[in-house]
Symmetry: C2
Subunit: 184 residues, 2 copies
């Protein structure tokens, strides 16, 4: 069942970030009553807020916090869904420095509690988007911890992961991969 999808350059839509593509995908899933999955807001440490009279409160000083969890979560066919999305310009591998230890620990916890966790990786040069189950990403992370390579090769991702079919609606049909892996 590996890589059953044909890459569709027609809908590649250069210039749209992976996050925008996924948000559009999730809006489609929601509108079509397929799933309810959302991006979490960016975590900010708010330091100073002004409360001007007769108008809305304004945040005047805030800092980006390192995320302790992942980008997206929600529910699909009764199951808890949780994933991190990452783009890389790298042509041959995915550098593990794109992830944080907290995120790996979070994915481990999700698996432990019976949720479905994965990473969506876009190789922007190739314009290919892959689905990689969290259990594999955790293995690669631990390989690094044990002195192994600091990245996952594209070939490894092609072998253990799945190329996600991209199209018009949904734009990045990652739930189709889940159907194959978890719901069939």
């Amino acid at each position: 069942i590996h890589n059953p999808y044909i890459k569709n350059h027609t809908y590649s839509n250069r210039g749209m970030s992976l996050e925008e593509e996924l948000n559009e995908t999730n809006e489609y899933y929601s509108a079509a009553d397929i799933a309810c999955i959302h991006k979490k807001p960016t975590p900010l440490q708010i330091v100073k807020v002004d409360y001007p009279q007769r108008s809305a409160a304004v945040v005047r000083e805030a800092y980006f916090k390192q995320p302790s969890t992942t980008d997206y979560n929600g529910v699909y066919k009764g199951r808890y869904i949780d994933f991190e999305a990452k783009e890389t310009k790298n042509k041959t591998s995915f550098p593990l420095q794109n992830l944080h230890l907290h995120q790996i620990e979070h994915m481990k916890q999700i698996l432990q509690h019976g949720g479905i966790a994965f990473v969506i990786i876009k190789f922007t040069f190739h314009n290919e988007i892959y689905f990689l189950d969290a259990k594999h990403m955790i293995e690669y992370w631990e390989r690094q911890t044990n002195g192994g390579r600091k990245s996952v090769t594209k070939q490894e991702i092609e072998t253990k992961g799945y190329l996600i079919k991209c199209g018009y609606r949904p734009r990045v049909d990652y739930l189709h991969v889940l159907d194959t892996l978890y719901f069939s």
Copy 2:
């Protein structure tokens, strides 16, 4: 099985907000490997960011956005968990203006996809925290839409909901209610 819990004033901890109590509860659930449930970051519309040399990016202008979903979500025993937490100083009812239409629609979606959705309501005057399943809150919302009362009486919440046992660890044991309702 209604209200099986004895209110415990010892741990009432006046001065701690419901959000703080729930964050502490969720940290306990996580550390004890019981569940993985987190508060979503506050959604902000970021307008202006400064990038000072040699130091972290600073958000200089941002506005609080009306949340389109709920406060908390995560996974417990394989199920998707989603809830909104609200405090009221009102002694006899919970005003529905504390919720937004978007949040009600979100809860409907969660139920539709097989998730577990609910509201946690704290009556600060009484120092009581209730669990109310989303299906009931949706009914009360629709009653209002159909010209009915603009609040849910405390008595209705006592009848349809469950008083949550408060203690030391976990502080607000809402998963105990879920065990009774969904896992027994």
